[in-house]
């Protein structure tokens, strides 16, 4: 008897769950299905387009005392570590073509080293494995949102920075309520699970803990932003600009860097080109190549044709040679 009653009592709860479950089960829309009224149009095509800068290989290059360069020369090709999942930054499209700001910076350096663009071998290296890949000679150099830090300088060396990023916000284009980190109260904010940017949002109580959303990848956050399940995505502005450029009609970067409440200054992320620790000759050569590109307008042309499509301008940063 008792069991009958319990079954009867819980039947209501179960019916509810069943209803919800049925929702989940039957709600299997194909991505092409036009969404309901007011929903966002589908994101723009993800096919790669370049800035159109030509990277003709230089001839008669010689770098005295650079083991890495000797290796490149004798192999007749260069192996570059890159990222592949950051649109307009370090990206590989469905057809296998690579493009983006970091990719073109990598191609620029390769051309200065006298390597034909067709002789570049790209290697996708995850962030956690970058030092190991450079130290072990798995890649000749690395270009992929690689922040210059003192800790990393113990293992590798850096040319650059070729870009200085700051923590910013990506929002829907029609959203005027979010103007910076101080206007996030009551808004849902998304970033990569456990990442420093989202921990800053949490530690500085910029929004309620319940409004913090974390996914493994930024592209999942961006999908949720487009579907209005979150209101902002936060991380380095370079990454955000890449997504804004990919979805020009839907998204924009706010352009108001987060600042450290203690000092009032932004948190700069200086992107450098990762090189072998002891190859100073190559580092000096790459720095000179970057300097020239910044002066003759090549840097700006690359930026405008990639991240610049987001509508946010930027200028080349000062190099930090050592």
């Amino acid at each position: 008897m008792r069991i009958t009653r319990i079954v009867a009592m819980t039947a209501a709860v179960a019916t509810l769950s069943l209803g919800l479950a049925a929702c989940g089960k039957e709600g299997t829309p194909t991505p092409e299905t036009p969404a309901g009224s007011g929903a966002a149009p589908q994101a723009a095509s993800d096919a790669c387009t370049s800035s159109g800068t030509s990277f003709a290989p230089a001839s008669g290059v010689a770098i005295a005392g650079s083991p890495t360069f000797e290796k490149i020369k004798s192999a007749g090709k260069v192996v570059i570590g890159v990222k592949f999942d950051q649109p307009n930054l370090g990206y590989k499209d469905a057809s296998g073509k690579r493009c983006g700001f970091d990719i073109e910076i990598a191609q620029l350096i390769a051309s200065k080293l006298g390597v034909d663009p067709a002789k570049i071998e790209y290697k996708e290296i995850a962030s956690a494995n970058r030092e190991t890949a450079i130290k072990g000679g798995e890649v000749d150099y690395y270009v992929g949102t690689y922040s210059i830090t003192e800790k990393r300088k113990a293992d590798v060396s850096f040319a650059g920075p070729y870009f200085v990023a700051a923590q910013d916000l990506l929002v829907r284009k029609d959203d005027t309520s979010i103007t910076g980190s101080s206007s996030l109260q009551g808004k849902k904010v998304c970033s990569a699970t456990g990442s420093t940017p989202i921990q800053r949002v949490r530690d500085q109580k910029l929004t309620d803990a319940g409004n913090i959303v974390e996914f493994k990848t930024y592209s999942e956050c961006v999908s949720q932003l487009i579907d209005k399940k979150v209101d902002a995505v936060t991380t380095d502005d370079a990454i955000l600009k890449g997504y804004a450029a990919q979805n020009q009609s839907l998204l924009k970067v706010v352009g108001s860097p987060f600042t450290d409440p203690a000092t009032g200054r932004p948190y700069p992320e200086k992107y450098g080109i990762g090189l072998a620790h002891d190859d100073k000759a190559l580092r000096d050569f790459v720095n000179a190549a970057l300097e020239k590109a910044e002066q003759d307008g090549t840097w700006q042309k690359i930026y405008d044709g990639t991240l610049g499509k987001s509508g946010s301008a930027a200028t080349a940063p000062a190099l930090e040679k050592y």
Binding site: M1, I3, T4, V7, T10, A11, V13, A14, T15, S17, L18, L20, A21, C23, G24, K25, G27, T28, P29, P31, T33, A35, G36, S37, G38, A39, A128, C190, A192, T193, G194, S195, T196, Q199, V213, E214, F215, K216, E220, S223, Q224, D227, K228, K229
Partner: protein
């Protein structure tokens, strides 16, 4: 050793709150899937062909669908239909929908152990379908399926970690947090393992207790 202990004490804020979310997720989805699973079993043995068909179809679909896919459907596909469900409830629904298919199958195997004669006798006495199932068949079925049922819930406890990939801050997300804090990854993962061992212990105790009390002498 000292460093190992410090990983726990220095990060108790993260580890404690994340495991608490795991427990919440487990309890809510556990109760719901037990209820829904029982209901599905009732459907599968009911005299109404439409209900039987639904039950069979449900189990066929959900039991063979990867759990990650169920989560992804709820979190990425359903919002496209302008249905807005928050992340924690989404995780509860996904786990319930998936686990209840396994609960249903475990329970159905228990029903098969109850001799047909008993149900026939009950019907001959004039009992309705609900009475036959609720008073005669299910109580015996539940007693025989304690070990496989506990295994289903044990698996579900571990399956909760998939929710970490869908914005639920539970135990599966601890590693990402503490790697950003620069903690030793081996120690972190060892603590997560220990945490799960502690969570599984009550399940083992429950299984022993139920087997002792409910053991059917045949």
């Amino acid at each position: 050793m000292n460093e190992f202990l410090h990983v726990l004490t220095d990060n108790w804020d993260v580890i404690g709150s994340h495991f608490l979310a795991t427990i919440e997720l487990f309890l809510i989805a556990g109760v719901c899937s037990l209820v829904l699973g029982t209901l599905l079993t009732a459907m599968r043995v009911s005299p109404v062909p439409a209900l039987r068909g639904f039950g069979t179809g449900y189990v066929l679909l959900l039991r063979n669908c990867p759990l990650t896919l169920v989560f992804a459907l709820l979190v990425f596909a359903v919002p496209k239909l302008d249905v807005n469900l928050d992340y924690f409830p989404s995780a509860c629904v996904a786990l319930t929908a998936y686990t209840s298919a396994f609960v249903c199958e475990a329970l159905r195997s228990g029903i098969n152990t109850v001799p047909v004669g008993q149900a026939e006798a009950a019907r001959a006495l004039g009992m309705t379908f609900t009475q036959v199932l609720g008073n005669v068949v299910l109580p015996q079925a539940f007693r025989t399926v304690v070990p496989p049922m506990i295994s289903v819930f044990n698996a579900m406890l571990k399956n909760t970690t998939i929710a970490a990939g869908f914005s639920v801050a539970e135990a599966g997300a601890i590693q990402a947090y503490l790697s950003e804090r620069g903690e030793n990854q081996i120690y972190v993962l060892l603590w997560v393992t220990i945490g799960f061992l502690i969570l599984v212990a009550p399940l083992v105790v429950t299984q022993r207790m139920l087997e002792r009390r409910w053991g059917v002498a045949r």
